[in-house]
Symmetry: C2
Subunit: 227 residues, 2 copies
DNA sequence: TATTAAATAATTGTCGACAATTTATTATGG
DNA sequence: CCATAATAAATTGTCGACAATTATTTAATA
């Protein structure tokens, strides 16, 4: 229950590079490895007490996740987040999760839907006091989206969203602090999405999800313009 | 004009691993490295006359593109394409390229649109004789989609589609032979999409692109059911 | 002093070797 | 003969060292 996102089969890391990959990913997401900073391979290798080869294995995988960037003969840097990039992510999520929702309406089992419902009400109660911020910070929101993407049954969608984009999203929330005034609204929107899925109305579910994400994007755009 | 897809800045490969990465990618796409086959690191390293470390660097990047799969302590395999996976790709393209089209309608310059138009009429004339198949095989179709995605101006979209998915799409076309009866229709659909983009009607452009891709998917689904 | 050039230091790219694990082969027993 | 266990071979994971490139510092010149 701790971390919402382990790759299904790969939950247990078997190799040293796996360990470092997972640990470093978390540290980047949380900002312990400062964003935009250069990765010193010798230093990091010492820190983990592994060889550079092993470290590089982990680093190249992090690059695949979009958390690191690499330039030949220069090295790796932690990705630099910007408002522009955040907006790009929103657009991609809008289209991808919209599709996921559409497919979820067709493919989710009754059990899965029930799980989703219980997850939402559980979140609603546990955190109705600690307004808003906690919901986003503690990643309850992403749990919800995660389950829907999974429910789509589309392996490629799952890979793109759950194994790549969502880590970037977490990174933003940790470091930019997504304290949004949308918490209450978000709950209601989640409810409506579930309803559409339950009704097997894929088209509506897609529209609702797109609006749901689009609203977050507009929120950021608005805040950006006032700065 | 040879290859439609080099990463903009990285056109020239500077390092040995880059070279191997690019070459191996092409060989996998074309099926010269048989799909589903296991990668023998010692053998491939000998083939390219490089060390395993350098090869592994290339392999891990190929994994990031979704062309290779890796299992700890077992090694890399070329991805195995299936009709199911192809349908998954279509769904993702439908949503992603739909969004790209929407954004392209907002962001493409007059010049870019003119280029797109000339590309299409050029393709139309050059290959109107060599019916259908050539258009898909020679990747004229992907060129068109490529330019639109680029026109969206969304870096993430560009990365996901042009640097990952499109290589898988090419792989399918090379190895499954996408001889479709849709060539004529496809041209008309492309024209309509351009028109919508020119009219700055993002919403319509998105719908048209989604239908365009969806039609290809339905085509595959139909053929699958008759087998 | 500011700018450029040379020399030095540090980092990445590449290599070959060994250890750990998996796969293939052979041996053993029912 | 088949199934299982032990052994051998091959493959991947990991390591440390050297070469090539980049970054930094020092020296030289205007």
């Amino acid at each position: 229950m701790a971390n919402t996102a382990d790759k299904s089969p790969n939950a247990v890391a078997t190799t040293r590079a796996d360990l470092v990959f997972t640990d470093l990913r978390q540290r980047i997401v949380e900002g312990l490895v400062v964003m935009g900073s250069k990765i010193s391979e010798p230093e990091l290798a010492r820190h983990y007490d592994i060889s550079r080869s092993t470290l590089r294995d982990a680093l190249s995988r992090l690059e695949g996740c979009g958390l690191l960037e690499r330039k030949a003969n220069v090295g790796y840097r932690v990705v630099t987040l910007s408002t522009e990039k955040l907006l790009e992510i929103f657009r991609v999520r809008e289209s991808l999760e919209g599709m996921a929702c559409n497919l979820a309406a067709k493919n989710m089992t009754a059990e899965q839907i029930a799980e989703l419902k219980s997850l939402l009400t559980q979140h609603e109660q546990n955190e109705s006091l600690q307004q808003g911020e906690a919901y986003y910070q503690k990643e309850g929101d992403l749990d919800f989206h995660f389950k829907i993407v999974f429910g789509s049954g589309n392996g490629l969608l799952i890979r793109l969203l759950c194994e790549e984009l969502y880590y970037l999203v977490r990174m933003y929330r940790y470091q930019f602090g997504m304290a949004s005034p949308r918490a209450k609204k978000a709950f209601r929107e989640h409810h409506n999405i579930i309803q559409a899925i339950e009704d097997k109305d894929g088209e509506l579910a897609e529209i609702l999800m797109r609006r749901h994400i689009s609203a977050s994007r507009l929120n950021v755009e608005k805040r950006m313009n006032t700065l």
